[in-house]
Symmetry: C2
Subunit: 218 residues, 2 copies
Amino acid sequence: MSTRARKETDKIPEPTLRRLPWYLSNIKLMKERGEQYVSSTQISKDINIDASQIAKDLSYVNISGRTRVGYSIDALIDVLENFLEFSHPHEAFLFGVGSLGGALLHDSGLSHFGLKIVAAFDINPLLVGTAVNGIPIFHPSLFETKTKEFGNVRIGVLTVPINIAQEMTDKMVDGGIQAVWNFTPFRIRVPENIVVQNTSIYAHLALMFNRLNLTEKE
Amino acid sequence: MSTRARKETDKIPEPTLRRLPWYLSNIKLMKERGEQYVSSTQISKDINIDASQIAKDLSYVNISGRTRVGYSIDALIDVLENFLEFSHPHEAFLFGVGSLGGALLHDSGLSHFGLKIVAAFDINPLLVGTAVNGIPIFHPSLFETKTKEFGNVRIGVLTVPINIAQEMTDKMVDGGIQAVWNFTPFRIRVPENIVVQNTSIYAHLALMFNRLNLTEKE
């Protein structure tokens, strides 16, 4: 593990990285409508975020607008898709082909956003040896072998039951996985150099239910 | 729309609502292991969050621990599941049975966390009239009729293509939907009294790819 400090100048703030895909969706729509140029003020009107915030976020990507005309939409789409790395495939393994895992194997949207699941692992004998959406499913005991076979797979999608979430994470990390996309509601522990992205859709449900009740009480 | 100010005392902070499901998962595991009591210090060790933060978060739910013994695990699971509203079903409609929408219809995990999708809508003639996982799919023109038929459906899950995300949202809100679970990468606009929960899994990908590159550069 490296002990050098991370360069803070390299690090784009998380909120910016969350907003940039919104801008991308928005300008893709503008392009569909036949528009050619866009300003941060126009994006701002559409999605209700301050134009100054949008300009600041866009300053992280390497593009410059022209006064009064704004950004070229085609160029901005290209630059954003490259910057967000949606335009080139990142290979990934998926662990746990249950309900949610199987669902993700079916989601072609992931590949449009740069994630290519190349193989999945599950202990269920009914699944091992089959394929979902063309993606082969192996027994977890084959993980090391498949790691060598597939080469540079650095991302693991975690969709196992919570009681084996930590065990499976440890196994993934031992096998060379460098980023874990954690869909379980379990908070996994990893070494400092491993990236974890928590996407607990069920936690979002709790938030939605709670806020819904607040509007009810009004 | 009500013009009364929302009572701020009713409002549990968003980070707390995001962390409570983690505690719930964790203590469910402890129960599986045969444990009966748990302290915030124990949870803290397992999931690497300050014990004082955990105690503060748990102070929002109506449970009291006993000195030296901690919380009863059974009671805490019950209280948390009730508080987070995972234990009673919230009926929902889903809009857009594409790749991600279809995947969510298959995900039995949602019902374990209190969301019951009772019907779906899509314009695809190959889907209209069929059912996925027992959930019927209707043409969007039947939305109003189905709203009356199903009664109190207040939640809409939005999984349509981005170019119709806003139009469909407006339709949902007109039809009485009070909370939109937005899975599209598009930032929808709604009246002030409508709850929006954005779950843009693709934006999470951007964040993960970016952080993965930072570790590479170390």
